[in-house]
């Protein structure tokens, strides 16, 4: 596959933040996810869990709950405001002060009414209008904060989890009609109040509650009596979620386990059913803060920052992509920009940018050797963002002379001097139109900065292309007009690039399909058609993570370089395509073969898995590779200590 000098970069101390809340829109199959830093991410579950949208967070703007109303996404947090998001422009649309102190929860019913639970003990009803939300009325005010809420599916009752108790409200009258007392923890401190973290109101008036004493309790909502107590843990049970058909409830605990309860007939011949604790899934090391059951899978997230999709295998007839366990660690976009000529790396954090110069080595060695460094990598610049909003994108020109970043409120461009004495000067007076950008990109000769504002886009070379809802447009930069549109494809492109010499556009989609589009001929190339005819290898299609970057080897125009989190791949278009029977990961085999035998075993996909947890991979102008790794172990070691658990034999 060719030999490269590889810069193995591990100084990018990227640290994702904990997942706080989730909400699943079954209609559009989108999962909205809120992190502790206030950012909101939208995943498309119909498109291989692709991270479609990221709305950057804001300082002092934490989110406690998310909820969908139709296609609209709302959030509420301890800052006391209800926020609606503009999912087109990826920014908060407006915020509405609720005047009830911090808001712990927000839920909506199918009729389009919001309720929020406030610190001051009020349950407030809001009406969702076309242009915003409007306060409707308060239910009876209670002593103590309202932590959790759940609508009865009919919309006439609301269960509210509070300190030490659950209240059931009649929505019409606004009065509390039931008061369910929750026990304090058995072993622990009696004086410490039990927090009812979540409640779930089922259509048969069964109420599930989970609390800080480690219990999941089943209540009869008609009579207000306790049916069953399941002591799951010594610590908190933080999340509950019910499946759509109400046959299964899952609970997430501080120990990182997800426990499933199922509505099962104890005797197979009889119809009478009861709730039985069944499976336990352990995919997290820390608290499970957010949990959603989406029918075929359980989606969980928490303090350990990863999003886990645990499929329920009994719902699948055969093995497919959705029947595998998925873990999403890294964002599906680039946080690293590279100046190929100047050998600089720009690392993007929510709060700052870091500029590094790569180390140098003039040693030579065999493949696999570690070369001695002549100069060490060097942090040149630490640029703190201005304002409260987090950075959403950044770019570095390939010569290393320009740097740009954008937040939801502003775009900033800087002139860089990195030769002898490092200096940075802000370029003033950017056009007013450019208030924020989703993607920034410098042209290859560093003479232009392209910014995509109203939709996500990637810009390149002498042509420019934008994407919106999986559409790809090609613009002519000389004439500044739309050149053509690439035929629609159902899956979102996760990475694309324009070949510097042949001017072919290579696109890799979230479902791992690869297309090559000739911009000059405005049609797919022969190679692309051949690839589609033959089909990609199953091992390629069933990979876990999307390809996040496509680039080309200027020395060898046949080679396309791309990478995802677990591998990087060189596609050599001059070699035959693999069919289903060929060994796909063949690098080890090739190494063991003699020179004469090798050509018969070669195929177009050369996959290298020796670098793991890849954030970025770039080819420098001197034909050396830069590989930015962020080992998951390093992320885990920076997490706070998990709750203490008794380990056997300790």
């Amino acid at each position: 596959m060719g030999e490269f000098k590889v810069h193995r970069v591990r100084f990018f101390e990227y640290m994702p933040t904990a997942i706080r809340a989730m909400s699943f829109n079954a209609h559009t199959e989108r999962l909205a996810l809120a992190r502790v830093d206030g950012s909101v991410e939208v995943f498309n579950f119909a498109d291989r869990y692709f991270q479609e949208k990221v709305i950057p967070g804001k300082d002092a703007h934490s989110i406690e709950a998310l909820c969908w109303v139709g296609g609209r996404l709302f959030s509420a947090g301890l800052h006391g405001e209800i926020t609606e998001y503009d999912l087109e422009n990826l920014r908060p649309k407006y915020s509405l002060e609720a005047y009830g102190g911090p808001i712990w929860t927000i839920i909506s019913n199918p009729q389009g009414t919001h309720v929020i639970g406030c610190e001051d003990g009020t349950v407030k009803l809001f009406e969702v209008l076309a242009e915003g939300v409007q306060f409707e009325r308060n239910l009876d005010r209670q002593k103590g904060r309202i932590i959790s809420l759940s609508w009865h599916p009919s919309g006439t009752r609301i269960a509210a989890g509070m300190m030490d108790m659950i209240r059931v409200f009649d929505v019409l009258t606004g009065h509390a009609i039931q008061r369910l007392l929750v026990d304090r923890s058995v072993g622990g401190c009696k004086s410490r109040e039990t927090v009812v973290w979540t409640v779930v109101f089922l259509s048969d008036h069964t109420i599930f509650s989970s609390d800080s004493a480690g219990k999941v309790q089943v209540w009869d909502g008609h009579t207000g009596t306790l049916v069953k107590t399941h002591q799951l843990t010594k610590w908190d049970v933080l999340a509950l979620s019910v499946s759509k058909d109400e046959s299964s409830v899952v609970a997430g605990t501080s120990e990182g386990t997800v426990v499933q309860f199922q509505f099962i007939a104890p005797n197979l011949q009889q119809q009478e059913k009861e709730w039985v604790r069944t499976r336990t899934f352990k995919n997290h090391t820390h608290d499970v803060r957010a949990l959603v059951e989406i029918g075929t899978a359980i989606v969980s997230g928490g303090m350990d920052t990863q999003l886990v999709v645990r499929p329920l295998l009994e719902k699948f007839e055969e093995k497919c992509f959705a029947s595998g366990l998925r873990r999403i660690h890294f964002p599906h976009r680039n946080l690293v920009s590279c100046a190929q000529k100047a050998r600089l790396l720009l690392l993007q954090f929510p709060g700052q940018l870091e500029l590094w110069r790569l180390g140098e080595s003039d040693g030579h060695g065999k493949p696999g050797d570690i070369l001695p460094l002549k100069t060490k990598p060097e942090k040149l610049l630490y640029l703190k963002r201005k304002g409260k909003d987090h950075i959403c994108c950044s770019a570095l020109s390939s010569c290393g002379g320009w740097l740009a970043y954008s937040t939801v409120s502003s775009v900033r461009l800087y002139r860089l001097q990195t030769d002898n004495n490092i200096s940075i000067t802000k370029v003033p007076k950017l056009p007013k139109v450019l208030r924020s950008a989703h993607q920034l990109c410098f042209s290859s000769e560093s003479s232009y900065l392209f910014a995509a504002s109203s939709q996500s886009s990637v810009l390149f070379g002498c042509s420019c292309l934008g994407e919106n809802d999986c559409e790809v447009h090609v613009y002519n930069l000389q004439k500044l007009e739309l050149h053509c549109m690439v035929p629609m494809y159902s899956s979102c492109p996760s990475a694309m690039g324009i070949h510097p010499t042949t001017n072919n556009l290579t696109m890799v989609h979230a479902d791992q399909q690869i297309f090559e589009f000739s911009i000059a001929e405005k049609q797919y190339t022969v190679w692309s058609r051949k690839l589609q005819m033959q089909g990609l290898h199953n091992l390629w299609l069933n990979r876990d993570t999307p390809v996040t970057h496509v680039t080309f080897n200027p020395k060898n125009p046949d080679q396309i370089l791309l990478h995802d989190m677990y591998m990087f791949c060189i596609i050599d278009q001059s070699l035959p395509l693999p069919d289903q029977k060929t060994q796909f990961y063949n690098q080890m085999t090739l190494r063991s073969l003699s020179e004469q035998e090798r050509p018969s075993h070669l195929h177009a996909f050369k996959v290298c898995k020796s670098f793991q947890d890849l954030m970025c991979m770039r080819l420098l102008d001197d034909q050396s590779l830069v590989v930015v790794e962020r080992p998951l172990m390093a992320i885990n070691s920076q997490l706070p200590a998990p709750v203490r658990q008794k380990k056997f034999a300790t």
Binding site: A265, P266, L268, V276
Partner: protein, 776 residues
């Protein structure tokens, strides 16, 4: 040499009682368990063996209660039969001949007249595949019935009976093997299979080990090799089945059992802790720890008042439902090897050998019951692989059983050998042995042999060791001080730095012989003078034995180079020798006889001979496979009066030996078997009369009458005929109970009727029997 057919090698006592799950009867009074070739009935309250149900000719592989009659039990055996017993009276009712090696038996109340047995797929012994078949029992009055009809229910099941269980009301049967659980519904005639993913690549072995179905709800509990318990529900669907996991055991779950009401689930494993899980409240559990050894089976009485657990050390513990141990039935503890010799405690006549780790067990051969354990090492035993613990390797009693000497050793890897010699004195008050002296490091190397002097004057112990020395230990009497007597070393001797391998005292204690590799030395224990050396053809001396009684002038020795030699000590010359690979030489303490076990081409032959005679008294070829390393002559409690020459050597004592597979075997003669048969004949009754204790009593009287008549015809008979009172008895027994007058009235009438006869001891006998019967 002639083979004698009148003597058989039999199992007697010491067989495994933990091989299969025991059964508690529905009134919780008895416990049934297969033990070797018989089924034993124990009382759950007194731990005594009430009946020994004999009849099978091979290992009993399962016992179950007859679901249609709670006073009967089925037992299955490797001999291919299923037998139906009346266990309260110990009577064999029926034998069903199936002609397959049966591995386990299962019954269900719903399937009347059908037994489910596990047999090999192909009728070969070595077959690896097993199937569960339904046996439709033919309705026939014959005591022996051939069963023709077998219908396969499940194929490829585990031969382990714990891996098959009947579900709620017998509607389905669940069987687990490897990584697969199969549930067969009888009504639908449909089976569902659920498999687990192998966790082998993650280093987890999650294969199924045992199974138990909930008696009321449709829930199957399965135990797994990684210590997890899974509760399966909704298993009448291929996809939507579900299970929850419980995890407490750190090692394989050996057995699982639901209580009859289904409120609790009991599990056990190597941790020797009985875990009681509350059904549907699984995080509440009760433990009964320190049960002594790994739990292999759990049984629950049908009313749920008693549990019992079988343990790996051949023990059954009976546990009240309040999780308290109420009784322990202990069999002979058989580890995978016995390091000590087999010995007979001269006081209790019990067999003494290694028991639990660090203990000596005293086992009564006559009652087939462990008497007690003596803790020798007195250290906590740690259950863990790879931890070296002290082991009792040698033990010896003196002639009267006043002193016991034990040697324990521990060899840790790359460290020195630790040896302790302990001397125990018998305490009359506590009726057990009390530690008197501990000698740490009595020798620098392993002790090879140890024996007490049989002479009545001195209490002398001799030990020999691989360090090239032998030591004599004497009980030093400190009568002048307050301290009690203790043991100390009296003499250290050796011979040309050779390593002594064995030692032996002559019967009167006047001579002491050591085997120093190739050389036999004879010493006087009083003066510690080397009297003579006897050398023999090459080969180290393995065993030495002085002759007894009339043959006490002979010394016998065996060597590693296949020689059995006999020296005459009067002439100090070799009397005779014969080439034989003698693995063990054992002298009968009650006669001149010697037993030599010779290993030959993978099996063992036995020769019994007198040193003075060149011809063996008895020989048996191919006694058992493998080498016999341990054997003992045990005294009989009742002398046999066999006149036949070949069995005379068994008249006073009985020879027991341990085979390679740790089976305790012995020899039984024809006269002995006749005697046993006679005692069991008393229980044989006509089919026409119901079997009741009354009937048995009456029958005995009848028998006595017959005997008396026989005696009358005999001129030697002195006894008077039976009193006329028997008519009164008959009258009494024939009248229905509800029309009888009060017992006090009857009693006086009855006694008076007995007084009619002149006088004899026999009527007293009868009264005594009655006196015993009436309160019951």
């Amino acid at each position: 040499m002639v083979e004698h057919t009148g003597i058989r090698v039999v199992h007697r006592g010491g067989s495994k009682i933990n091989f299969r799950e025991p059964v508690i009867t529905s009134d919780s009074r008895f416990l049934l368990c297969g033990s070797g070739e018989s089924v034993k009935v124990y009382s759950t309250s007194t731990e005594e063996c009430v009946h020994d149900l004999q009849g099978h000719t091979d290992l009993v592989t399962g016992v179950v209660l007859n679901p249609s009659n709670h006073l009967q039990a089925y037992s299955c055996s490797a001999d291919g039969t299923v037998r139906l017993w009346d266990f309260t009276d110990g009577i064999l009712i029926k034998t069903f001949i199936i002609r397959y090696h049966i591995f386990s038996i299962h019954v269900s109340e719903k399937h009347v007249g059908v037994l489910f047995v596990v047999v090999p797929m192909a009728n070969e012994k070595g077959s690896e595949l097993f199937q569960l078949v339904a046996v439709h029992l033919p309705r026939s009055g014959d005591p022996e019935v051939e069963v023709g009809e077998l219908s396969a229910v499940l194929c490829d099941v585990s031969p382990n009976p714990g891996a098959v269980s009947f579900g709620t009301g017998g509607e389905y049967i669940a069987a687990a093997k490897g990584l697969q659980l199969e549930v067969f519904f009888f009504k639908k005639q449909k089976s569902y299979r659920f498999s687990l993913k192998s966790g082998m690549n993650k280093g987890i072995n999650n294969s199924f080990t045992c199974i138990s179905c909930h008696p009321k709800e449709d829930c199957i509990a399965t135990g797994h090799a990684d210590g997890k318990i899974r509760l399966w529900r909704n298993f009448n669907q291929k996809k939507e089945y579900t299970y929850s996991t419980l995890h407490w055991h750190h090692n394989a779950v050996n057995t699982l059992r639901f209580t009859p009401e289904g409120t609790n689930l009991l599990s056990g494993g190597i941790e020797s802790v009985l875990v009681q899980w509350r059904y549907t409240q699984e995080n509440q559990k009760d433990f009964l720890p320190r049960l002594g050894a790994a739990i292999t089976h759990i049984a629950v009485s049908p009313d749920g008042s008693l549990f019992c657990t079988s343990h790996a050390d051949n023990k059954i513990t009976i546990i009240l439902s309040s999780v308290k141990v109420s009784a322990i039935i202990q069999g002979l503890v058989k580890d995978d090897c016995v390091r000590t010799d087999l010995m007979i405690d001269p006081r209790s006549k019990a067999l003494v050998l290694n028991g639990k780790p660090g203990h000596l067990q005293f086992y009564s051969l006559h009652r087939d019951k462990q008497l007690y354990n003596l803790d020798i090492v007195q250290q906590e035993y740690i259950h863990e692989q790879g931890v070296d613990q002290f082991q009792v390797v040698k033990a010896a009693f003196d002639t009267h059983g006043d002193w016991l000497a034990t040697v324990e050793e521990r060899r840790q890897k790359s460290s020195e050998l630790e040896i302790n010699l302990k001397l125990w004195s018998y305490d009359e008050q506590t009726q057990s042995f009390v530690l008197n002296t501990t000698v740490t490091a009595p020798h620098e190397d392993q002790i090879t042999a140890m024996c007490f002097s049989p002479s009545p004057e001195t209490t002398l112990l001799v030990t020999t060791s691989l360090d090239g020395h032998f030591k004599a230990w004497l009980l030093a009497d400190h009568s002048d001080t307050e301290e009690s007597a203790s043991w100390s070393c009296d003499f250290v001797g050796g011979y040309h730095l050779l390593k002594p391998g064995c030692c032996c005292f002559s019967a009167d204690g006047s001579l002491l012989a050591f085997g120093f590799q190739e050389v036999v030395t004879v010493w006087s224990p009083t003066s510690w003078e080397l009297l003579t050396t006897l050398s023999q053809p090459p080969g180290a001396v393995r065993d030495l034995c002085f002759g007894r009684l009339s043959c006490s002038k002979y010394l016998l020795g065996t060597s590693t180079k296949n020689q059995l030699c006999c020296w005459n000590l009067l002439t100090c010359s070799l009397e005779w020798n014969t080439p034989m690979d003698v693995s063990l030489l054992q002298a009968d303490p009650f006669s001149e006889n010697m037993a030599a076990f010779c290993s030959q081409s993978g099996s063992t032959d036995l020769f019994v001979f007198k040193p003075s005679e060149p011809r063996p008294l008895f020989s048996k070829k191919a006694l058992c496979t493998g080498k016999v390393e341990r054997a003992i002559f045990a005294p009989r409690d009742q002398m046999l009066e066999s006149s036949e020459e070949y069995s005379q050597w068994l008249n006073r004592s009985q020879l027991y030996f341990l085979t390679q597979h740790m089976d305790l075997m012995t020899f039984s003669t024809k006269t002995e078997e006749d005697r046993l048969l006679a005692s069991s004949k008393q229980l044989m009754v006509d089919d026409s009369v119901a079997i009741t204790p009354f009937y048995l009593l009456l029958g005995r009287h009848k028998q006595q009458q017959q005997e008396k008549q026989e005696l009358l015809t005999n001129p030697l008979a002195e006894r008077t005929p039976l009193p006329q009172g028997s008519i009164a008895i008959k009258e009494l027994l024939d009248t229905p109970a509800h029309v009888l007058p009060s017992a006090s009235f009857l009693c006086s009438m009855f006694v008076r009727s007995l007084l009619v006869s002149s006088s004899s001891a026999s009527c007293q006998d009868a009264m005594l029997t009655w006196g015993m019967l009436l309160p019951g």
